[in-house]
C-alpha cells in the first residue's frame, strides 16, 4: 500500500463512483498531464471498475471504440483515430454519425472531459482566454464538451491544472453549462444530462451543491492543505466538508497494478 501514486489514487477513487452498468465516454487527449487526466486515468478507472464491481460497464474509448481489449493496445494511441486500431480487438466501432450509440438520447451515462477554465458553477471554457488588454488567446474550440454536459448522464471533469487561471469566478466563454441556479436551473434547460458531477484535479476532488450549484471541496489529496486548494482557486471555495482523499484497498491496488496498468503509467507517467 505504500507508494500509492496520486494518479493511482485518482483512478481508484473515480472507479468507485462508476455504476454496474455505466456507459462511459472519454475522448482522446494528448500530451503529458492532459493525456493523464483526460484519457489515461478515466480509461484506467473504467477498466478497474469493469474488473471489480461493474462487469457490465461499457467503455467508449476515444468515443468510438467499444470495450477495446486494453491488454492488446500496448501504449495509449496518440490520435483519436489511430490506424493501428483496425487490429485491436473490441466489441463494436462507431463509424457513422449518429451511429450505433446516440449521445443525444443519453446512451452515455458518464462522460469525461477537460477544459482550459472552469468556474464556480462548473461551466467550462475551451474556446478563448481573454487578456486584460483586450487581446485573447485562441484555443481549439468547443469540441464536444457542450454535448457532454447537456446529454450525458453525468460528467466528470478532469482538470490537469488547478490554479487561479483555470478555476475562475466566471469563464471567459461558456462552451458548456454547469449548474447556474443549481438543480432548479438545470431543470429549466430541459436537457437530459445532469451536468458536471465531479471535478478531479492534482490538488483534490470537488463536487457541487444541489441548491446553489456552487463547487465545493470534497477531498483533498495527501500532502495538499485545504489552504493551498483555497489559494489556488479563483473563487470563494466551501471547504467545510473536505475529507482526505481515501486510500485504495489492497485488492483495488492489486487489480489496478496487475491487470489495468501493468506498464505502470499511473506511477511513472504516460510517455510523451
Amino acid at each position: 500500500m505504500s507508494e500509492v501514486s496520486l494518479h493511482e489514487r485518482l483512478a481508484v477513487l473515480v472507479a468507485r463512483t462508476l455504476r454496474a452498468d455505466d456507459v462511459g465516454f472519454t475522448g482522446l487527449t494528448t500530451g503529458g498531464p492532459t493525456a493523464m487526466f483526460g484519457t489515461y486515468i478515466p480509461v484506467a478507472a473504467m477498466q478497474l471498475a469493469r474488473l471489480t464491481h461493474a462487469p457490465d460497464l461499457t467503455l467508449f474509448m476515444a468515443g468510438w471504440c467499444h470495450n477495446p481489449s486494453l491488454r492488446d493496445l500496448g501504449a495509449l494511441p496518440r490520435s483519436e483515430f489511430p490506424l493501428s486500431w483496425y487490429d485491436v480487438p473490441s466489441e463494436a466501432r462507431k463509424d457513422t454519425w449518429p451511429g450505433i450509440h446516440s449521445m443525444y438520447r443519453s446512451d452515455v451515462t458518464v462522460g469525461f472531459c477537460s477544459a482550459a477554465q472552469i468556474d464556480r458553477v462548473g461551466s467550462v471554457n475551451t474556446v478563448r482566454i481573454d487578456r486584460p488588454d483586450g487581446s485573447h488567446v485562441r484555443l481549439v474550440g468547443p469540441v464536444m464538451v457542450t454535448e457532454h454536459m447537456a446529454f450525458y448522464g453525468r460528467e466528470i471533469v478532469m482538470m490537469p491544472r488547478h490554479d487561479r487561471r483555470t478555476f475562475v469566478e466566471r469563464v471567459d466563454y461558456v462552451s458548456a453549462v454547469g449548474h447556474p441556479g443549481g438543480k432548479a436551473g438545470r431543470a429549466e434547460m430541459q436537457v437530459p444530462g445532469s451536468g458536471p458531477a465531479l471535478v478531479v484535479t492534482p490538488l483534490g476532488v470537488l463536487d457541487f451543491d444541489d441548491v446553489t450549484g456552487v463547487m465545493r471541496l470534497r477531498y483533498v489529496h495527501p500532502g495538499v492543505s485545504v489552504e493551498r486548494v483555497r489559494e489556488e482557486t479563483g473563487f470563494d471555495l466551501d471547504c467545510a466538508a473536505a475529507l482526505p482523499t481515501p486510500d485504495p484497498t489492497a485488492d483495488e491496488l492489486a487489480v489496478l497494478r496487475e491487470q489495468v496498468d501493468p506498464q505502470g503509467f499511473l506511477r511513472a507517467g504516460v510517455p510523451a
Binding site: A20, D21, V23, L51, T52, H53, P55, D56, T58, C65, H66, S69, P89, S90, E91, A92, R93, D95, P98, I100, H101, S102, Y104, R105, S106, D107, F151, P192
Partner: protein, 308 residues
C-alpha cells in the same frame, strides 16, 4: 448479475434468454416497433410468441409493416398502428389487417414513408419532434391532430412538427449475437436492415431474436460486424428461421409455398385465420411451429450464411 465463484466478483450479465422470456418484456398497451420490411426480415418468432402470450392493446409504430401486423391484428393484439404501409408486397393487401381497419377494429394513423423513418431518427436523437417540409397540403397532416404546422425560425419556410416515434420497445430479427447482446450483421446489409438499426437506437427496450449465437471472442475479432452494441440490447433469444415466412439475407428467401398454400387461404376470413393460429401458433413452441410448416423443407431453402 451472476457472481464468478473463483474471485467473488460479479460477472457480466448474460442477456441470452428463452424466446418466451424475451416476449415477456413486452407490456400490454406499449408503443412497439417491429424491424424488417413487409415480407423481409420480420421478427416473426417473437411475434408468434406475443400471440401465445395473448398480448393486448399494442400501439405499433412503423415505416413499412407487413405480415407481423396482419398476424397481430388477427390475434386481437393491436389497438392502433402508425405507419406508411401495411401490406404483403407481392402477396397483395394484408387481409386480416384490412378487415380490421375497414371495420374500425384497429385505429390507423397514416404517415408518409420518409416521415415515418424520420420519427425514428428523432427518437434516436432524443428530439421531441422532427421538422418536415413534405406534408404541406396533404391529408396526412390535415387529419392528424398530433402534427402541427410552424414556420422555420430562421427563414419562415413552412414546416410541420411531427412527434418522434416514442417507442418503448423495438423487436428485431438479426443474423447473429453473442450472449452479452452484441448484435452482428454482415457488412453488406440491405436497406431494411439499416432501418432496423435506427429503430433499435430509438427504443428504450431492445429485444432481438437471432439465427445464430456466436462466441464473444468472435465478436472481439470482428468488431466491425457489431451494429447493435451490447449496452443497447435488453434481451436476445436464439430463434433459427425466426423470420419465417419472410426472407432473411444470407439465410433464406420468402416461403412462397407457405404463403400461397397456407397463409393466404387461412387469412380469407377471421374464423379460418383463428383456426390457423390454433393449429400452428397457440399452444405450440417456435420449434413445433417449424415442424408444422415443414422445417425439413425449409432447411433446403437455405442458400448461404454470411456469418458462420
Amino acid at each position: 448479475m451472476a457472481t464468478a465463484a473463483r474471485t467473488g466478483r460479479p460477472s457480466r450479465t448474460v442477456k441470452l434468454v428463452a424466446l418466451e422470456d424475451l416476449a415477456a418484456r413486452v407490456p400490454d398497451g406499449c408503443r412497439i416497433a417491429f424491424g424488417g420490411f413487409p415480407m423481409f426480415g420480420k421478427p416473426m418468432a417473437a411475434v408468434r410468441e406475443l400471440v401465445r402470450r395473448g398480448s393486448r392493446e399494442l400501439v405499433v409504430v412503423g415505416t413499412s409493416n407487413g405480415i407481423e401486423v396482419d398476424v397481430l391484428v388477427a390475434a386481437g393484439a393491436v389497438r392502433r398502428i402508425e405507419t406508411a404501409y401495411v401490406g404483403l408486397e407481392e402477396f397483395g393487401l394484408a387481409p386480416n389487417y384490412r378487415r380490421a381497419a375497414e371495420a374500425g377494429a384497429v385505429e390507423v394513423v397514416d404517415y408518409s414513408e420518409g416521415v415515418a423513418f424520420d420519427r425514428f431518427r428523432a427518437g434516436q436523437e432524443g428530439l421531441t419532434f422532427v421538422p418536415v417540409a413534405q406534408l404541406v397540403g396533404t391529408d396526412i397532416a390535415a387529419r392528424n391532430p398530433e402534427i402541427v404546422p410552424f414556420p422555420c425560425p430562421l427563414t419562415g419556410r413552412p414546416y410541420h412538427a411531427v412527434p418522434a416515434a416514442n417507442v418503448e420497445v423495438a423487436v428485431i430479427h438479426a443474423p447473429a449475437a453473442d450472449e452479452f447482446g452484441n448484435i452482428l450483421y454482415p457488412q453488406s446489409r440491405m436497406l431494411p436492415q439499416g432501418l432496423d438499426l435506427t429503430m433499435a437506437c430509438a427504443a428504450d427496450v431492445v429485444l432481438v431474436t437471432v439465427e445464430r449465437v456466436v462466441d464473444s471472442n468472435f465478436v472481439l475479432r470482428n468488431p466491425q460486424l457489431t451494429q447493435i452494441p451490447a449496452f443497447r440490447t435488453t434481451l436476445v433469444a436464439h430463434a433459427p428461421w425466426g423470420a419465417h415466412p419472410t426472407a432473411l439475407p444470407g439465410f433464406y428467401e420468402v416461403d412462397d409455398e407457405f404463403m400461397r398454400d397456407t397463409y393466404l387461404p387461412a387469412a380469407t376470413g377471421a374464423d379460418s385465420f383463428d383456426g390457423f393460429l390454433d393449429d400452428h401458433v397457440r399452444g405450440a413452441t417456435h420449434e413445433a411451429y417449424l415442424e408444422t410448416v415443414g422445417a425439413a423443407r425449409l432447411f433446403h431453402r437455405e442458400r448461404w450464411a454470411v456469418i458462420a
